[in-house]
Amino acid sequence: MIETERLTRRYGNLTAVDALSIRAEPGQVLGLLGPNGAGKSTAMRMIAGFLAPSEGTARVCGHDVQREPLAARRALGYLPEGAPSYGEMTVREFLVFIARMRKLGADVGRRRFDEVVGRLQLEDVLEASIDTLSKGLRRRVGLAQAILHNPPVLMLDEPTDGLDPNQKHTVRQLIDAMARERTILISTHLLEEVHALCNRVVILAHGRLQADATPAELEARSRYHGAVSFSAPGSGVSQEMLGRLPQVSAIEVDPLDGRITVFPKPGARILEPVEQLLREQGLEVSEIQLERGRLDEVFRQITTAQPGADA
């Protein structure tokens, strides 16, 4: 479990993280979302104990990171931004070093080593020095380091940043597989990641919490939530006709591909009436879709609000 209470960090006049209160429970993958410079990494560094909070507290599994730093760090596996590691060491040396630092003991250490190496498919590069590895492999080494001691709480700062789609998929699968009995906090600015991984999202902007919701709840905030879009090639679908439907608030036509999006009035369901109308008009519709809402739009809307304004 990770809890923060009014966690604040100031650098001179700049407030990087402003009174942030979040809570992540076991079994939860909490996504920390925000544009670059929103304070995601700073918040994580405070939870990891690398930076001291200017105000407020953070607890990992009930251990205050300031008052019981070692107990908090024992419960935590942390992948810092960019997955730093000692480049001159081989992967094996590095993981053995981490095992020693975490006092894993010979037996447990070896078992966990084998498990983690297998899970992250590092067998082939064990004797390679980390400097010579590709970005994706280095990220995997960083992940291996974070989960080596089988921590109940995992905190990953942009775990898939800079990876190719296949590598992203592997890392996400891994996080998914570990999520069941753990608390996982990941930071990202990739919205696809939210869909793929998170069951709860915290959005930060200017160091402040702007939203704390499930991905579905966020999508529901989108203008596109419940909208119906379709392509009807070659037919001048009467926008007037659609506009006359009582549930419809607006209609947009994509100037590039002619795709038509019909927006509902708040709370209204418009898929059926639109379909019915199209049928009645005898219009050929190649494909029709009910939109869930667009996270990118909600994200933009939330994070570009004026600093200090309430979300």
Binding site: L76, P84, Y86, E93
Partner: protein, 244 residues
């Protein structure tokens, strides 16, 4: 294995995977030899002791210790591994101690590898080996103080060059503090008491005292306390960086 031990072993390894450590050892041994025979008049003195050999050590350390310690924290801060290290269950003090011990042991190894000169002097005459042992002890203790200074100042900056220069400057000040020229220079301006304090700060004075074979508790305490003091200052600096 304790975290101190783990950090120490990692540091020692990292010395030897780069050619840096080997280059250092060779330069140290060559310089120690050359300076002893040429600058120190080893033969012409006609005495079977290692006084000229040990007299060169402060000046050798002045250049070589900063080279060993400059990367200690600066590299970690720059490469981002500091964040990794400090998210592991290790206190700043343990990490500092581990790094210090690694560099100090390394200096001990360099010192131990000068044994041929000890063999030479024993072949040429019959020196007082007790005094020579005391000389080695004094030299290693002094190296410890220098390493602690370097460890502290490396924590101050992300730049290895800055760490090197700062360490060299502080070390040269501490070597020179007790020299008669320096004391004379200040004797007009400062009260007697302060001059004595300045003289007492001098590394050279305590080093020479032990190297003569006189094991005074005060000289040992000087090195141990200054080593601990600088390490503590380094830990405080790191802690300050965390808060600031």
């Amino acid at each position: 294995m304790s975290p101190v031990n783990a950090v120490m072993r990692r540091e020692l390894r990292s010395f030897f995977v780069t050619p840096m450590a080997w280059v250092f050892l060779v330069i140290f041994l060559v310089l120690a030899g050359i300076l002893t025979f040429y600058a120190g008049d080893f033969y012409e003195r006609g005495q079977a002791d290692l006084q000229p050999f040990f007299a060169m050590h402060p000046w050798l350390y002045l250049i070589l210790v900063p080279a060993v310690t400059m990367r200690m924290w600066a590299e970690e801060a720059k490469g981002g591994t500091l964040e990794l290290l400090l998210s592991l269950p290790v206190t700043l003090w343990q990490a500092m101690l581990g790094k210090f011990l690694a560099a100090w042991l390394f200096m001990g190894l360099a010192l131990a590898l000068t044994f041929p000169i000890w063999l030479t002097v024993n072949y040429l005459g019959s020196p007082d080996n007790g005094v020579i042992l005391a000389g080695y002890l004094a030299s290693w203790l002094m190296a410890g103080s220098f390493v602690a200074i370097g460890a502290c100042l490396s924590a101050l900056t992300r730049s290895q060059v800055v760490a090197f220069v700062l360490t060299a400057v502080v070390c040269v000040l501490l070597i020179l503090a007790g020299q008669p020229q320096v004391l004379d220079f200040f004797s007009g301006a400062l009260p007697r008491r302060l001059i004595n304090a300045l003289a007492y700060l001098s590394m050279l004075r305590h080093f020479e005292a032990i190297a003569r074979g006189v094991l005074d508790l005060r000289d040992l305490a000087y090195f141990l306390l200054s080593t601990l003091g600088w390490l503590l200052a380094g830990v405080l600096l790191l802690e300050l960086k965390r808060v600031r």
